[in-house]
Each structure stands twice: as structure tokens, then as C-alpha cells.
């Protein structure tokens, strides 16, 4: 123990500050390089295959001015958020219910795993057959996409719960509902947030792919429409908007996570 302690360098106050600036500086340099590379790509391959960054920014500004940006983002967000919410509720509740009955859980597990193997996008044509070309087919695909991720991370979280804490709570007089809420849920929160962050970009992607197929608005619809009229700038603008949407939601999730998991001892430097 003491030997290991001696070899670990103790960071002092001053380098911590300069380190922060170093990281920030590195990020700025990377951003400049990326934009330069992008611009270089545009000049090399031509505007038909590669839109220049300045054009993309101008296009996004124009879309914002006309209000179409907000309408498209709202449309994509509506489907993603609803599907995400349904999937989260089901993906958390189901493992909690299965926990109560190990035998049922064992019986059901292979079927859940098998259904997970279905490529969700492959369902789209069949779903359109069933539900027509409204929000419903997209919603189903998004929900399925997110559900399995939340289901698996929640199940892993429940399996990882420290049984000694459960016993402690039982002896103290806690009923099953209190144990589920105070012990199981709190223990699996870190798993749940990991699941959320993995699922988030997929939910938005699933919505966008759905919009390629059937939509009258939405980011995916804008991208697909731009492609049809060979508007490369429009395609790029759509991708950038989708990325910014994911990053914004991720930032919100990070804030919620930090508040919910504020008790955790580790200072997490990398945020996903």
C-alpha cells in the first residue's frame, strides 16, 4: 500500500489550472483542423459531393430565419422523445417485474433475446402497412430501438445490486416497494444513465431514418428531400442539425445525471 502511494505523483494546484487551459486549447486546435479538413474536402471533391462548411452554416442560418429549422427539429424531437419515454418506462418496469419471479424471468429470457435479434429497420415496411404513413411506424421503431438498450442495462444493474444492502433494508423493516425504490433503483442508476446515453443518438437516428421513408417534415425529411434535388448543402445542414440536437439532449442528460449521482466519489473528467 505505502509503496504504491509513494510512486503516485501528487498533482498540485497550479498545474491543474494550466491543464484546463491546455485541454481547452487542444479542443480549439482540433476544431480548426476539422473545419479546415472539411473545407479542403469541399474544394477537392467539389460542391456536389462535399458541401463547404461556410455554405452549411449559412443554410442553417437561413433555415432558422424562415422557421423551418424549428418545425423540422420539433417534428423529429416529438417522435424521438415519445418513443424514448415509452421505451424507458417499459425497459425499466419489465426487469423490475421479472425480478419478482426468477422462474418467469428464465422462461421469458430467450424470447426477449431472440426478438432483440430482429433488425428494427427491417420492420419499417411492415409497420407502414399496418399503421400508414403517420408518426406511428417511426414511433414503433424508435421505441424498440431504445427499449432493448434500457432493458439490458437495467437488468444488468439489477443483477449487480449488493444483496447485503437488500438484507439490511429488509431487517430494518423495508417492504418490497421501498426496496425497489430505495435500494434497487438507486443502485442501478449509473447503469440506467449509461443506457440512456447509448440509446439517445440511436433514438434520433431511428427517427431520421423513419423520416427518410415516410414524412412530410422532420430533419430526416429535409435531408432526403435535399438529396432528391441534389442539394448537398441541404444534406450536410441536416446532418449538422441532427448532431446538434443529439448533443443538446446529451447535455441535458448530463445535468440530470450529475444531480442524481452527485454522491459518487469519482470525478468524471470525460463526459459522454
Amino acid at each position: 500500500m505505502t509503496q504504491a502511494d509513494l510512486t503516485v505523483p501528487i498533482p498540485s494546484e497550479a498545474p491543474a489550472v494550466s491543464r484546463k487551459w491546455l485541454v481547452l486549447g487542444g479542443r480549439v486546435v482540433l476544431a480548426v483542423l476539422l473545419v479546415l479538413g472539411w473545407e479542403l474536402g469541399a474544394r477537392t471533391f467539389g460542391a456536389v459531393f462535399f458541401a463547404s462548411p461556410l455554405d452549411v452554416v449559412m443554410r442553417i442560418a437561413k433555415l432558422a430565419e424562415s422557421g423551418q429549422l424549428f418545425a423540422d427539429v420539433a417534428s423529429t424531437l416529438r417522435v424521438s422523445a415519445l418513443g424514448f419515454a415509452i421505451a424507458c418506462v417499459a425497459g425499466v418496469l419489465l426487469p423490475f417485474l421479472l425480478r419478482r419471479s426468477p422462474r418467469l424471468s428464465e422462461a421469458v429470457e430467450p424470447y426477449i433475446m431472440a426478438s432483440m435479434g430482429i433488425p428494427k429497420y427491417a420492420l419499417a415496411p411492415w409497420l407502414i402497412l399496418w399503421f400508414g404513413i403517420g408518426d406511428m411506424p417511426k414511433l414503433v421503431v424508435v421505441t424498440l430501438m431504445v427499449f432493448y438498450i434500457i432493458f439490458i442495462t437495467t437488468t444488468a444493474g439489477i443483477r449487480g445490486v449488493d444483496q447485503r444492502l437488500v438484507n439490511m433494508a429488509r431487517i430494518a423493516g423495508a417492504g418490497e416497494a421501498v426496496i425497489a425504490r430505495e435500494i434497487i433503483w438507486k443502485s442501478l442508476l449509473p447503469f440506467f444513465f449509461t443506457g440512456l446515453k447509448v440509446a439517445l443518438p440511436r433514438a434520433v437516428s431511428a427517427t431520421i431514418v423513419g423520416e427518410f421513408l415516410v414524412a412530410t417534415e422532420g430533419i430526416g425529411h429535409y435531408i432526403e428531400h435535399s438529396r432528391q434535388v441534389s442539394d448537398t448543402v441541404g444534406v450536410f445542414a441536416g446532418i449538422v442539425i441532427a448532431m446538434m440536437l443529439v448533443l443538446s439532449i446529451n447535455a441535458v442528460v448530463n445535468v440530470v445525471e450529475r444531480r442524481a449521482l452527485g454522491w459518487r466519489p469519482v470525478e468524471r473528467e470525460m463526459e459522454l
Binding site: D162, N167, M168, I171, A172, G173, E182, K186, L189
Partner: protein, 265 residues
């Protein structure tokens, strides 16, 4: 034996379920009998691996019994079937385990309040009692710290008063002070005796440390090696209040110590 015993262990035996295709596991405990009077501080000494924790787990009703009976307050506890177990026996048996088992997402004070809270008894009075206990074990000022921000000794104190705060009539303690340094341990033992003096609860305290068994107990049981049975029983003649730090200088200590040590062999 004027008073009826509060807790009676009769011919208790435990062996763990055999895995498929293997010999059934040997008896961890077999033919173990003893009784505990209300308000008694009973210590149980035994070599490591003697089944001390298993014994407490069975009394706390988080593990099943293979044979024999546990009678609590005249009522036989149904403890053969895992699904019939009632952990903590309706909040009447508290259990301070070897690990502190504090909830990492709750602050020290919220951990202490946890049992009172889940029992729906959190009010001004129970809160004040918990605050008193926090002060009594020197945790004042650390109420809002999370467990990982506390030292090992402080965590033990928090776990101890978490059980004392909800006031179960019987408290089981499984080597609660085993994992702390000698000085902290003496302090914790003194704290425990002081708190026990305020409210004479029935305590069953398991340890492998003979000195600890003598310093704390009214009576010490010695467990044999596996399968565990009672190898000896000693009443501790040392009057209370006791001073834990110089217990070994007290008259009578050496004799009891020698006798227990001989019984453990």
C-alpha cells in the same frame, strides 16, 4: 433462571444445500443450544470459520435453518422455508453486520434515519433521538458527508447507531469492530458500552477476540470448531461500568481469559 428467556436456540443445525452430483455439504452448525435473557449482553467467541455469521444470519431470519428451533419471545420462528423467513422478525431483531452496509447514495444522517424512515416513524422525536446518537458517537459535523467520505471507524459508528436509532429489543452484532485499528476499536467498544448502559438492550455480540468478549459481555459462550456447538460458557464476573482500555488489569480478567482460551483450542 427466574425470568423466561427472550431467545432460545434449541438443537440448531445448518448445512448448505448440496450442489448437483456432489456430496451434501458438511454441517456448519449442529446441535447448538443456548438461551438469552432479556437485557443480557451475550458474547459468542469462536475461531474463524466456526459458523458465527451463519448463526446470526439464522437468528436474523435472512438464512434458513436445517434443523432445530429458534424461539423468540415464546414464539417459534418458522425458518425452514426461505419464503417464510421474516428478516428482522418484524423490526424486533436488529443486525449490525461485519460490513457497515451503509447506502452510498445517502448521507451519514440519512443512513442513520433509513430504518426509521422506511418504518414510517420519522417525526421530531425519533429525529431528535437519532441526532443525540450522532453526537454520542462523535459524528456531529459529519451528518451531511457521504459514507465514502468517512473513515472506517466513523462508518462503523454510523452503522451501529443506525440500528440503535430504531430501537429494536434485540440487536445482533457480527464482529462489527473487526476491521478497524486497535485504538479505534477500543473507542468503539467504550461507545457501545456507554450506549448500552443508557438502555439495556439484549445484545448478542459475535467476535473472535477473547478480550473483546470479556470486556463487553455479561456472559461469554465459546463455540467449537465445525460443526459449531457450545464448547464452554463463562459468566464474566467483572462489575460494570467497565473501562475497556484497562480491562485486562481488572481482577478476574486473567482467569476468565485463560479459561476461554483453553476452551477454544
Amino acid at each position: 433462571m427466574g425470568e423466561a428467556p427472550l431467545l432460545e436456540i434449541k438443537g440448531l443445525g445448518k448445512r448448505f444445500a448440496a450442489r448437483q452430483g456432489r456430496e451434501p455439504s458438511p454441517w456448519v452448525i449442529q446441535g447448538l443450544s443456548f438461551s438469552v435473557q432479556p437485557g443480557e449482553f451475550l458474547t459468542i467467541v469462536g475461531p474463524s470459520g466456526a459458523g458465527k455469521s451463519t448463526l446470526l444470519n439464522m437468528i436474523a431470519q435472512i438464512d434458513t435453518v436445517s434443523e432445530g428451533e429458534i424461539v423468540f419471545n415464546g414464539e417459534a420462528l418458522a425458518s425452514r422455508d426461505a419464503r417464510a423467513l421474516r428478516p428482522g422478525c418484524g423490526r424486533r431483531i436488529g443486525y449490525v453486520t461485519q460490513d457497515d452496509n451503509l447506502l452510498p447514495w445517502r448521507t451519514t444522517f440519512d443512513n442513520v434515519l433509513f430504518p426509521i424512515e422506511v418504518q414510517g416513524r420519522l417525526d421530531a422525536e425519533t429525529r431528535a433521538h437519532a441526532e443525540m446518537l450522532v453526537g454520542a458517537v462523535g459524528l456531529a459535523g459529519f451528518e451531511r458527508y457521504y459514507p465514502h467520505e468517512l473513515s472506517g471507524g466513523m462508518r462503523k459508528r454510523a452503522a451501529l447507531i443506525r440500528t440503535l436509532a430504531y430501537d429494536p429489543p434485540v440487536i445482533l452484532m457480527d464482529e462489527p469492530f473487526a476491521a478497524v485499528d486497535a485504538q479505534t476499536r477500543a473507542q468503539l467498544q467504550a461507545d457501545l458500552l456507554r450506549l448500552w448502559n443508557l438502555k439495556r438492550k439484549t445484545i448478542i455480540f459475535v467476535t473472535h477476540d477473547i478480550t473483546e468478549a470479556i470486556a463487553l459481555g455479561d456472559r461469554a459462550l465459546v463455540l467449537s470448531r465445525q460443526p459449531a456447538r457450545i464448547a464452554a460458557e463463562h459468566t464474566i464476573p467483572i462489575p460494570r461500568p467497565r473501562k475497556v482500555e484497562d480491562i485486562f488489569a481488572v481482577e478476574g480478567f486473567a482467569t476468565v481469559y485463560e479459561r476461554i482460551r483453553a476452551a477454544i483450542q
